[in-house]
């Protein structure tokens, strides 16, 4: 049972354009979400997070949007740069569960073309 889904395994975008990475979840109890970026042969690194009390969080070129009714979140990267080429994972957690268990999606490989 995949509670967090990233249905696009890969995405190619031209440098300077917008990259939109999508993530869907099934558990309505999830109330905290994060995006991680992973380069080959390295561990994931934290990118941006959003709490369910918000519908948008922005940090520089990165913006995460949350649509609770649709159980959907997306990461926008504007403008996309070649260095953004990596695998992006979304992760979700139920803060009220009392555990610290993040559920990760399967990842989307972003390729930014120069």
């Amino acid at each position: 049972d995949q509670q967090v889904k990233q249905n696009s395994p890969s995405l190619s975008v031209q440098e300077g354009r917008i990259s939109i990475l999508n993530c869907d979840y099934t558990n309505s109890m999830f109330d905290y979400f994060l995006w991680y970026k992973k380069y080959p042969a390295e561990g994931p690194t934290f990118l941006i997070s959003i709490s369910s009390i918000k519908d948008k969080n922005e940090d520089g070129r990165f913006t995460v949007f949350l649509n609770k009714s649709a159980k959907h979140l997306s990461l926008h990267i504007v403008p996309s740069q070649p260095g953004d080429s990596a695998v992006y994972f979304c992760a979700a957690m139920d803060l009220g569960s009392g555990t610290y268990k993040y559920i990760f999606g399967t990842g989307t490989r972003l390729k930014v073309l120069a």
Binding site: Q6, Y32, L34, Y36, A41, E42, G43, P44, T45, F46, S49, S51, F89, A91, M93, L95, T99, Y100, K101, Y102, I103, F104, G105, T106, G107
Partner: protein, 114 residues
């Protein structure tokens, strides 16, 4: 201080042998996580520790897998009687301890079971 470190970085073993994977978290981080990433797949939660206790072991794939943590520091993931399907990158992450803290990942241990 230093980030999360893992050793060995690569491990090749024969089917049926036991392996131990080590994780050194960031000093002072009370929460520690183990994940597995098989080729072409996402991050699969294995276990997490709060201090030296593991309140959630639900992700361990079988009783061949075990983990311990001592001194609220180093953790060891042990896989007994390894199977070829155990081949994966094993990632460790730590966080300060509150649920909303982001996780800091190590570079992973690449395990290949022949």
């Amino acid at each position: 201080g230093a980030g999360v470190s893992q050793s060995p970085s690569n491990k090749v073993t024969e089917k049926g042998k036991d392996v131990e994977l080590r994780c050194d978290p960031i000093s002072g981080h009370t929460a520690l996580y183990w994940y597995r990433q098989r080729l072409g797949q996402g991050l699969e939660f294995l276990i997490y520790f709060q201090g030296n206790s593991a309140p959630d072991k639900s992700g361990l794939p079988s009783d061949r897998f075990s983990a311990e943590r001592t001194g609220e520091s180093v953790s060891t993931l042990t896989i007994q009687r390894t199977q070829q399907e155990d081949s994966a990158v094993y990632l460790c992450a730590s966080s300060p301890g509150t649920a909303q803290e982001t996780q800091y990942f190590g570079p992973g241990t690449r395990l290949l079971v022949l």
